[in-house]
Amino acid sequence: MTDTIALGGASQLRFRDPAKARALSAALGHVCDAIGRERISVMHVCGSHEQSIAKFGLRSILPRRLNVIMGPGCPVCVTDVPEVDEAVVLAQDGKIIATYGDMLRVPGTAGSLADVQAAGARVEVVYSAVQAVELARDTTEEVVFFASGFETTAVATAAIVLDQPPPNLTILSAHKYIPPVMEIVAEMPETRVEGFLAAGHAAAITGSAIFERFVEKHRLPVVVAGFEPLDILAGLVKLVELIRDGTPAVANMFPRCVTPEGNRNAQRQLWRVFRATGGVWRGIAHVPNGNLRLRDEFRHLDARQRFAIDLRRLWTHAPSRLTQVCICGDIMAGISSPSSCPLFGKECLPENPVGACMVSSEGTCRIWHQYGGHPDL
């Protein structure tokens, strides 16, 4: 049974156990009052967390002084323009591009993969790396798997690399690694984040212990949380308790899915295939060790090694005026929110996105647009 309770204003809270939610909400209120500061900002780094927070209207029952920000938790959104451009150029050069659906409409310098597809290039949407392999097996043409996603998804790419893929398949990796970007965001003076909510399923791979070093270095608590509304509320309670007590630590509030050591088999495959290297995350910063790229051992499968990808032909395109107004980067850094963007819901819409945050179903703007935005109570 689904309970529905209306909570004033425009928002509705809908989920299975409103009584528990109210109790957690009250607990959050007590802890935040005990902290006493006017504003307590915490950040999560996961599109699925934001979907759940927005869909179930959780912000409407948070204490006024608790600000829950979505950070750089959308891998598609932080894919940098030159990475999109590489895929665009390869598609224009006649390679078949296989990619996850969310990447299709992410704007590059001169357009998106959807644009080159409309102009006749072959761009195929896949839901899995396995489908990219099947696509390559069914043709003699070159297939490039433009692979995006954080470590959880990079593991799938690693698995196909280790499984003797067909010779006409190469990987164009735009995979990103979350722990290093948390360090960058933690040090941004404007963001003033006091703690992080880490995503449950990413931590299922890496293990919760991976955050120990971060906690020690930055003296900020990290709580691993699941995706159920109650999981998120319980995670937030734990996080503000750690803030109140001034005891930065890693807490695992999703033990049904996450262990301290994580999935060792997956980690072995991930690091066998990929190395972490520095690179720009769109709108955020250069993130040391934030990009996952194929190791030299697999250079024969690396699209960047097999093909000469010359981006210069795109450089004659000036960025559009709207692109320069877009504040996607500030939103992902936690400095701003979609409602502060003059384009949000006007020039920038899911069907005609200006920034990547409106493209992906994990992007803050797209999520707020679908679920009615930030309830202003």
Binding site: Q51, N263, Q269
Partner: protein
């Protein structure tokens, strides 16, 4: 996309398993999961790969969120779309 989707293992064939997602039987790869699975186990599938086995006592709770999502969701709901996408990510169909 990081939500994943739970399913019940029906058959194991080397590095692939046939998994039942609410009646849809699909192939899921077992390369990444870190423990053996047998028919009857529940796994969490992400982009076509089983990433973990769901402990027996957690199955009901795990399935509940997804069932609510799939039952209630309007066609354009993005969380439900992600779950459907995860089912699409598996190879299939298998009867």
């Amino acid at each position: 996309m990081c939500l994943g989707v739970p399913g019940r293992v029906v058959e194991v064939k080397g590095v692939t398993a046939i998994v039942d997602f609410w009646g849809a039987r699909r192939e899921t790869r077992l390369d990444v999961i870190d423990e053996p699975v047998v028919p009857g186990d529940y796994i969490l599938n992400h982009v076509g790969f089983a990433i973990r086995k769901i402990p027996a006592h957690e199955i009901g709770e795990t399935l509940a969120l997804y069932e609510q999502l799939l039952r209630e969701a309007e066609a354009e709901d993005m969380m439900a779309a992600d779950v459907r996408g995860e089912i699409e990510a598996t190879g299939g169909p298998h009867d």
